[in-house]
């Protein structure tokens, strides 16, 4: 079963990047996920200052705005999609993720399966 781990940074630096995280920890975690053979996909997102939001109104007109910028809410810094047998295994991987520490959080969402 596929689960998406949405990694929210707890503290955000000046440029909208996750603050206070150790690159070494992330590399070690990424290696573990790959070597466990459970990785479907995963990306780390560029700093929030580079984000752009698009909305399309009822009249079909598009509105493009700079941002969003980090306010008080946690912001998505990256994700993994992993394929594991059940929620307990997915929660274990989420708990091992460096993004779950230091005030950050990892939201675990099952990927919808439309074939079942």
């Amino acid at each position: 079963m596929k689960y998406m781990l949405l990694i929210n940074a707890g503290a955000v630096g000046e440029e909208g990047g996750a603050a206070g995280c150790d690159v070494g920890d992330w590399m070690a975690y990424d290696k573990q996920v790959r070597e466990a053979g459970i990785l479907v996909s995963g990306e780390s997102l560029a700093d929030l200052v580079t984000a752009t939001t698009v909305r399309v109104g009822e009249d079909g007109r598009r509105t493009v705005t700079d941002g969003p910028f980090a306010e008080t809410r946690e912001i998505l810094g990256g994700f993994y999609v992993i394929d594991v047998p059940d929620l307990d295994v997915a929660l274990d991987w989420a708990a091992r993720c460096p993004g779950a520490r230091g005030g950050g959080s990892v939201v675990v969402r099952p990927v919808a399966d439309f074939e079942g």
Binding site: L87, L91, P110
Partner: protein
């Protein structure tokens, strides 16, 4: 272990009660074994109900079979196979689930033909109390699936409308299914993290029964007994876990006082006024026997410590003869293990018994700003009692009125009104 005498077709009433007794015990067991077998709670529930219906129709006529559990299991499995034949797509999906459920870290599929049904309820306990489910739903699921209560009965237990409870159970089931919360017992490394959730779910059923949060009655004994029954099952399944022994001991020692807790007016009778002759001595003996089990062989857990406090209460001949210094010491241990303002409140009351009302009141005043005690009627009630003992009647009356406004049950209000009357009309009610 649970071998029951085989009944024969006697009077309708007698066989109906035998049938009912069998179901109380077997329903949860059957459901757990079927969930384990098919990996699907919905299917297991459906065929469990069908097997029970078949038994209701057949047993009063044919007599209760010698192995009722095995009879129910065989019937339920046949129904499941029929259902899967009718619905091939569903069967294909379950086959995938089943393949994954047969991972080597899980116990092998039970062989029913061997006779006694293997007990797989432990898996179901851990699923129902899974941390990924809402805390308020865990006790409800445990009552529904392990105690075998119907949804309307569970709704009554938690004092919510049936439709609300049905929605909550459906939502929780969707999460179990959709997020694939597994039916498994956590490994040794995980157990210390997961067991408290299971114990909390059972204890929440007990506390709902012991001090109903609303409604006319003070105690709902059926719920307390259901919780004790569940804890006995857990104790059999996890004999080495000291906190399971602690929880069972605590509930037995508290429940043993049930008959003495309610006065003729329906109001609660507090410990100092209880007729100790009405305590259930065999139940106390059973509870006291478990306390050493809970407290030896490692550091104590919160249920073991609370059981020790309850043991000191039942071992005393009266309130003044109670070992209050020891109770205060146990509350200190409990506060270190599981800090909570409610425990601090109980400790303050014990300190008042040990060192006098002034000392207790000083501790209570330190808790005045605790958000968790705001709206909690025992807090102003405890203050009122101590103020009363200090002769500060106007303040005591004020605190009783505050507690009255917060109390959830009529029974609690009866007691508080009685105490308030005693202050406002001294002489009329003694004191």
């Amino acid at each position: 272990m649970d071998e029951r005498p085989a009944g024969t077709a006697g009077t309708d009433e007698a066989s109906a009660s035998v049938v009912e007794a069998v179901f109380r015990e077997e329903r949860g067991r059957l459901l757990a074994a079927l969930v384990r077998r098919f990996g699907d709670l919905d299917l297991a529930e459906e065929v469990t109900s069908e097997a029970v219906e078949a038994a209701l129709a057949r047993w009063p006529v044919d007599g209760v079979p010698s192995r009722p559990g095995a009879w129910l299991m065989t019937t339920a499995r046949r129904r499941a196979v029929d259902r899967l034949r009718r619905d091939q797509a569903y069967a294909a999906r379950l086959a995938v689930l089943q393949a994954e459920a047969d991972r080597p870290d899980l116990a092998p599929v039970p062989a029913v033909e061997a006779g006694e049904l293997p007990d797989e309820r432990l898996q179901l306990f851990f699923t129902c109390a899974h941390p990924a489910l809402a805390a308020e739903d865990r006790g409800a699921l445990t009552l529904r699936y392990l105690a075998g209560l119907s949804t309307p009965e569970v709704a009554r237990a938690f004092l919510v409308p049936t439709a609300t409870m049905a929605k909550r159970i459906t939502r929780a089931k969707q999460k179990i299914h959709g997020a694939r919360i597994p039916f498994r017992v956590p490994g040794t490394a995980e157990l210390p993290e997961r067991l408290p959730g299971v114990l909390q779910a059972v204890y929440s059923i007990f506390t709902e029964g012991y001090a109903a949060s609303g409604g006319p009655r003070l105690q709902r004994l059926d719920l307390a007994e259901e919780a004790i029954r569940l804890a006995r099952i857990l104790r059999r399944l996890l004999p080495a876990e000291r906190e399971v022994a602690g929880l069972l001991a605590l509930m037995l020692l508290v429940h043993a006082r049930r008959d003495a807790r309610t006065g003729p007016d329906g109001g609660p009778v507090l410990l100092d006024e209880q007729d100790r002759g009405r305590w259930d001595r065999p139940m106390i003996a059973e509870g006291l026997g478990l306390v050493p089990v809970a407290l030896t062989g490692g550091p104590p857990g919160p249920y073991g410590v609370q059981a020790a406090v309850a043991a000191l209460h039942v071992e005393a001949t009266d309130v003044t003869g109670t070992d209050w210094p020891q109770i205060v010491a146990l509350y200190d241990v409990l506060l270190a293990l599981a800090p909570s303002p409610v425990v601090a409140l109980n400790r303050a009351a014990a300190v008042a018994m040990r060192d006098g009302p002034e000392a207790g009141l000083a501790l209570l005043d330190e808790l005045a700003d605790e958000p968790l005690l705001r709206g909690h009627h025992p807090y102003p009630a405890a203050r009122a009692d101590l103020l009363h003992r200090l002769g500060r009647h106007a303040e005591a009356a004020e605190a009783y009125r505050e507690a009255l406004a917060l109390a959830g049950t009529e029974a609690d209000r009866v007691l508080l009104r009685r105490r308030l009357d005693a202050i406002e009309r001294p002489g009329a009610a003694g004191t």
